[in-house]
Amino acid sequence: MERYVLKLSDAVGSCVRFLALVSGLLLMALMMLTVAAVSLRKINQPIFGAQDISEAGLIAVVFFAMAYSGWTGGHIAVDLIGNVVKGRALQMLDFGVRLVCGLFFIIVTWMSIEHGLDALEYGDGFNLLPILHWPFYFIIAFGSGVFSLVLFLLAARSACGLPEIKVK
């Protein structure tokens, strides 16, 4: 069991890191867009729909990085019980909490797909540009789905007594 969890950890770790890098590169692109939009607006040549692009891009930035943040312990928690409960008991507690979180994020994934399908049916879109909402609901669903997978894997690591993932 432990061997499979470790193997899966390597694969998932690389995958969420790659997604987070994509998120970072998208953020750099949004930074460039912001600078261009401000500069061009000052010479009365505003970029039409720059805000729409930023809003759509921000969704991808956030949800491509959600799983990486979870994988590397970035989502803050209040560590009061860690001073009282230690060792195996704490790992089993983490197992339970992560399992619940993973199950909950399956619901979020499912609801995002439902909303995406609704947006597809009704043709909802952003304000100025003809960018439709539905692909971005599916990006949220994808990001949430990967996050829930990460939470299950972290739960499995706790159950196997494997150490927490460290980040630089």
Partner: protein, 434 residues
């Protein structure tokens, strides 16, 4: 079961799950979702869970969070922290306790580039601690000033604390940023004053360093010029209405990126680390905001905020008395809960009350951020203390906490001054253009 009872059960469950180490953002989403389900049925709850992630993640104003985080991280890799410390060191280093003052001044400068207290403490700590050790500074003063100086990160704009406050209360991010400038400078001064008093009483705490000639001081100041330029462009741009806070963030990040390229600090490794760190921090901030936007409607449905406001106002306490109760409660909470958690959990209840009491919400935002700063250096879970401990592993926690106390008292003085003279916070936002 009444809505208020469901609300109270929800709040109790929230604290239990938080104590069990469930991430703050997920707890709020979970309790908010279940709570809305209990009051308005499954359809409403599932609709909230499906829509809020999209609403928050596509909020243009929130682009400011990853952009300013990116700016701070780029400033770190381009060596600006070293320049800042060098400039402050050149001017204050020869005073008694001067290196500690230089650390505080450099922390204040770095805070203007980074919205995070932890980032400020870790970045400046790595630069300043070895220098203070070299000049035989007492470990209490050395570690205490780094932990306290780091807290300026969330008071001096850009500040992620202000962004979250602004989003949850629908206040202007730009006005909140400007409101933080003068209190931030005041607190910097009070921290330095506290160092001066400590070293006057016990000179061995901070022996003076060598005095630098004027030419060297000017040179060191010039080296920090690029960083000053970025601060002037971003904060000045917001003040003059040249661009919005979100645009300022994008431009600031771009300038920091440009500077990092010019200084040849950018390569694939540093850049990928910077990007990963940036999106990691941003994702956690967004998860908390999504959680807050699922939890807050539930709390509103329970009527608990309204009832609590009416009860507190009905006690006939003076507004100042109620404010004091709130601040003491926040300080106590800050000893156990993470600052952002306090912000998102308490604002739906406290913000309407503050408005009803006649206080300015922008001013209250500043007061609240200072109280959160106090939590960052309060035992037993002061995050900045753990950050300093990670840099100064040989210094016992008790020593760091003792070293922090004078700075903690300086924060109390700052709070008192802000309550007595709210104009300190409100002057700049009230005179901003645009």
């Amino acid at each position: 079961m009444s809505e208020s009872t469901i609300g109270l059960i929800g709040i109790a469950a929230l604290f239990i799950l938080l104590a069990l180490r469930m991430p703050v953002g997920i707890v709020m989403m979970l309790i908010g979702g279940v709570g809305v389900w209990a009051i308005n049925g499954s359809k409403a709850a599932l609709a909230t869970l499906g829509s809020e992630p999209f609403v928050i993640a596509s909020n243009f104003e929130l682009l400011i969070i990853p952009m300013f985080v990116l700016m701070g991280n780029l400033a770190s890799i381009s060596g600006m922290s070293r320049d800042l410390y060098g400039a402050a060191y050149a001017w204050f280093g020869h005073w008694r306790g001067g290196l500690a003052c230089a650390t505080i001044a450099a922390c204040a400068g770095f805070a203007a580039l980074s919205g995070s207290s932890v980032a400020s403490a870790i970045t400046m700590g790595r630069v300043a601690l070895p220098e203070m050790r070299r000049y035989n500074y007492h470990q209490r003063l050395a570690t205490g000033c780094i932990a306290a100086g780091g807290t300026l990160g969330i008071l001096i704009p850009p500040s992620t604390g202000f962004v979250i406050y602004a989003i949850l209360t629908e206040e202007s991010i730009g006005r909140l940023f400007l409101a933080g400038v003068l209190p931030g400078l005041l607190l910097t001064f009070l921290f330095m004053l506290s160092i001066g008093i400590q070293c006057r009483i016990k000179p061995e705490l901070g022996p003076p360093g060598p005095k630098m000639p004027m030419r060297q001081r000017i040179k060191a100041t010039g080296q920090a010029g690029a960083m000053t330029g970025i601060i002037v462009v971003t904060i000045g741009g917001i003040y003059t209405g040249f661009f919005t806070a979100g645009e300022a963030a994008g431009v600031g990040a771009f300038l920091a990126f440009l500077l990092a390229i010019i200084r040849r600090s950018v390569n694939w490794t540093t850049m990928s680390d910077t990007l990963l760190q940036t999106v990691r921090t941003s994702a956690f901030a967004f998860l908390i905001l999504i959680g807050a936007h699922v939890f807050n409607p539930f709390l509103a449905l329970t009527q608990i905020p309204t009832t609590l406001s009416e009860t507190l106002i009905g006690t006939n306490f003076a507004p100042l008395g109620i404010l004091m109760i709130l601040l003491v409660a926040f300080i106590v909470l800050g000893m156990f809960l993470e600052g952002f958690a306090i912000l998102v959990l308490s604002l739906p209840i406290v913000h309407p009350l503050i408005i009803q009491l006649g206080y300015d919400p922008i001013w209250f935002g500043v007061v609240m951020v200072i109280v959160l700063e106090m939590g960052l250096i309060s035992p037993p879970v002061g995050v900045n203390v753990f950050v300093v401990k990670s840099i100064a592993e040989d210094v016992p926690m008790s020593e760091i906490f003792i070293g922090i106390m004078p700075f903690w008292l300086a924060m109390v003085v700052c709070l008192g001054l802000l309550i007595a003279f709210p104009q300190i916070a409100l002057f700049l936002p009230n005179t901003m253009i645009g």
